[in-house]
Symmetry: C2
Subunit: 129 residues, 2 copies
DNA sequence: ATAAAAACAGTAATGATTACTGATTTTGAG
DNA sequence: CTCAAAATCAGTAATCATTACTGTTTTTAT
């Protein structure tokens, strides 16, 4: 007696399909293409619930917005502090989760955020010098 | 001609010493012990600047507050969705950062967030059954 | 079919964070 | 050591992403 609604299904679908890491309002804009009269509050409520249950991930990069990620496969987020872009990097396995497990922790989702300077920004910087 | 103030220094000191992952206002409360008349706005301004420059890390766990971390040594955050607690797990090296580097990305800070259920909550759950 | 439970749309309220202002501190050149 | 420009500050007002609320609709499980 819980959890289903076509709105929630649409939100999950949108998140699974988006390859970016959308904010709540970006999700809202996208979901409106499926359910035009969906409410922004519904998007927030469902994102919060999905995050709480571990079905999606949320990350904060300091731009004032939460960013959501529907991809539960363990992967690294490369976050460039220069251009602010987040790109994904997939590992064939998840060494840290394995380590966490060996400590008695039952992992179900994980995100690695590596902050630094991306390839493009490094070359841009070198041109400027 | 930039960046120094005793307020900023106190904020960094507090963050380096705190073993928890304090919110902005927890930092504020702590810094007040050093500089009693410091302003909350100053704390926010400096936290934002330090985060921007990569001197500290900020993480979002869905409680409505940003949490800050002054420890730049690569480590895992074990985030329990049950009790909400974050505990640190140190690795002898940082395999993901090394992998990022091999992709042409220059890493300087990284955090791994592994969400799941911690030891204590697992045993509590089993008692309930 | 149907009644209780859950979720919704729409909107108002909240409160963490940011922006602003005039005062103070820091910096670096002379 | 001045001293003025630049940066930062304290204090407070404003912002705006997110949450809460209300009456309605959908879902669920008998």
């Amino acid at each position: 007696m819980k959890n289903y609604s076509k709105q929630r299904e649409a939100i999950i679908t949108v998140l699974r399909d988006m390859k970016t890491h959308p904010t709540a309002s970006a999700v809202y804009e996208k979901v409106k293409e499926i359910i035009p009269n969906i409410s922004l509050g519904t998007v927030y409520r469902n994102l919060a619930a999905l995050r709480e249950s571990g079905d999606i991930l949320a990350i904060s990069i300091g731009d004032g917005f939460d960013h959501f990620d529907g991809d539960k496969k363990p992967h690294i987020h490369l976050h460039c502090r220069e251009c602010k872009e987040i790109t994904d990097l997939y590992l064939t396995e998840d060494p840290a989760a394995a380590f966490a497990m060996s400590q008695g922790f039952e992992p179900d989702t994980s995100v690695y955020i590596v902050s630094g300077i991306c390839k493009d920004c490094i070359s841009k910087k070198q041109i400027k010098i």
